[in-house]
């Protein structure tokens, strides 16, 4: 009786999607290098020279993954002029929501007052936000969501070993969010993304939870990182990915207004900018100087900062690229809302 089976109806969406609003939440506790140096036998000068970081922010107990996300998302929604009830999907990129299940996204969607929006977390580490923007772009254009919220949020201070010389001065906390929705003109270029699991061990949690619990002295499986290989990969391989994202969007370095890489390390940003031969006219995100490396939150926080400082104006073309543990990466050119 196959002849009587109906052909399925499918969704269709608008031709183009765009970022409609950007929000950020910066935790209240300012942590200067002076507070970090003793435990790693280092100095303010060394940290600044190695990373560009002067201060970072750590969340208090009250500033949770959920509360910081909600604050960032509300700002993004306000700016977009979208009510939470219009949001169809909430995507949260994080590696530091320490409850295994349920996802942070469901709590955030509820707290925001969505009407039972689809909500889930994605695990793509520092690259998570740009993965989320790619998903949201395709959802809106595919018709499965009219408005999607993409949030990057971290409390890396919970999972960083304060005595580890390779990571203690780098990682920090915060949240950033964007609203993605329909647009009359293209607002999000093609994503260039991928993974390199050969280097799965370059950045990772020290142990999995079963090994933690089996040990005599269980302790948090902090992040570990092989600094120099990661620096090499990020500075050179990622510059090529960034170039591909420009090419796929049909934008030259000269036409670009803003470069907003994951705020991993200012030295990586410098090396990428050099490899990309970015002209002087391109304004480069440097939020890391007083925000530290906030993993999935860094790109939207840096974008918000550039908008607030007048360095990113509505209609500007911004190249986003994020990269991290996995190794995972994603890049796209966007129009600043």
């Amino acid at each position: 009786m196959s002849g009587s089976r109906p052909t399925l109806l499918t969704d269709t969406g608008p031709t183009y999607a765009a970022l409609l609003g950007v929000g950020a939440y910066r935790p209240s506790r300012l942590v200067p290098n002076a507070e970090i140096v003793d435990a790693i036998d280092s100095s303010d000068e060394w940290i600044q020279q190695r990373s560009g970081i002067k201060t970072r922010r750590f969340a208090t107990d009250e500033e949770t993954v959920v509360s910081m996300s909600v604050a960032a998302a509300r700002q993004a929604l306000d700016e977009a002029g979208i009510d939470a009830r219009q949001v169809d999907c909430v995507i949260v990129a994080t590696v530091s929501h320490l409850l295994q299940t349920p996802s942070a996204a469901t709590a955030i969607a509820h707290e925001l007052g969505t009407e039972q929006a689809a909500a889930f977390d994605i695990s793509a580490a520092c690259a998570g936000f740009c993965h989320g923007v790619a998903l949201a772009n395709d959802m809106v254009r595919g018709g499965s969501a009219r408005y999607a919220l993409v949030i990057g949020v971290e409390r890396l201070s919970d999972i960083t070993d304060p005595t580890d010389r390779g990571t203690a001065f780098i990682f920090a906390d915060g949240a950033g969010a964007v609203v993605v929705g329909p647009s009359g003109t293209p607002g999000i270029g093609p994503v260039v993304w991928g993974s390199d699991g050969e280097h799965y061990d370059h950045i990772r949690s020290r142990q999995d939870w079963r090994d933690v619990l089996a040990s005599d002295e269980p302790r948090m499986p902090h992040l570990t990182m092989k600094g120099n290989p990661v620096f090499r990969w990020a500075s050179y391989s990622m510059a090529k990915v960034a170039q591909q994202a420009l090419d796929r969007a049909g934008v030259t370095a000269e036409q670009l207004d803003c470069f907003i890489p994951h705020q991993a390390n200012n030295r990586i940003t410098d090396a990428m900018a050099r490899s990309l031969r970015l002209p002087e006219s391109v304004r480069i995100a440097r939020d890391i100087v007083d925000a530290g490396n906030t993993s999935a939150a860094s790109v939207p926080m840096a974008l918000r900062r550039m908008i607030d400082d007048g360095d990113a104006r509505s209609g500007d073309l911004a190249l986003l690229i994020a990269f991290g543990a996995g190794l995972a990466y994603a890049a796209q050119v966007v129009v600043v809302p």
Partner: protein, 81 residues
Amino acid sequence: MSTEEIRAALAEIVNEVAGIPADSVQLDKSFSEDLDVDSLSMVEVVVEAEEKFGVTIPDDEVKNLKTVGDAVAYIERNRAA
């Protein structure tokens, strides 16, 4: 390329990456002690050198390249191979 040509080309890279005057990049100079090239800058020097001289310098090898002379000798050996 002669030893001196390799040294001079490497010195240019060190100058570009770390801002150190090229004429101070001499064979007997230690990258970290004398020239103040830190480990991240050293990664950049290595990547640029690989491109310039058509050699591969694995991460494990980098720690053996303590002086400019070590790096020049490594490049000479591996270019020939």
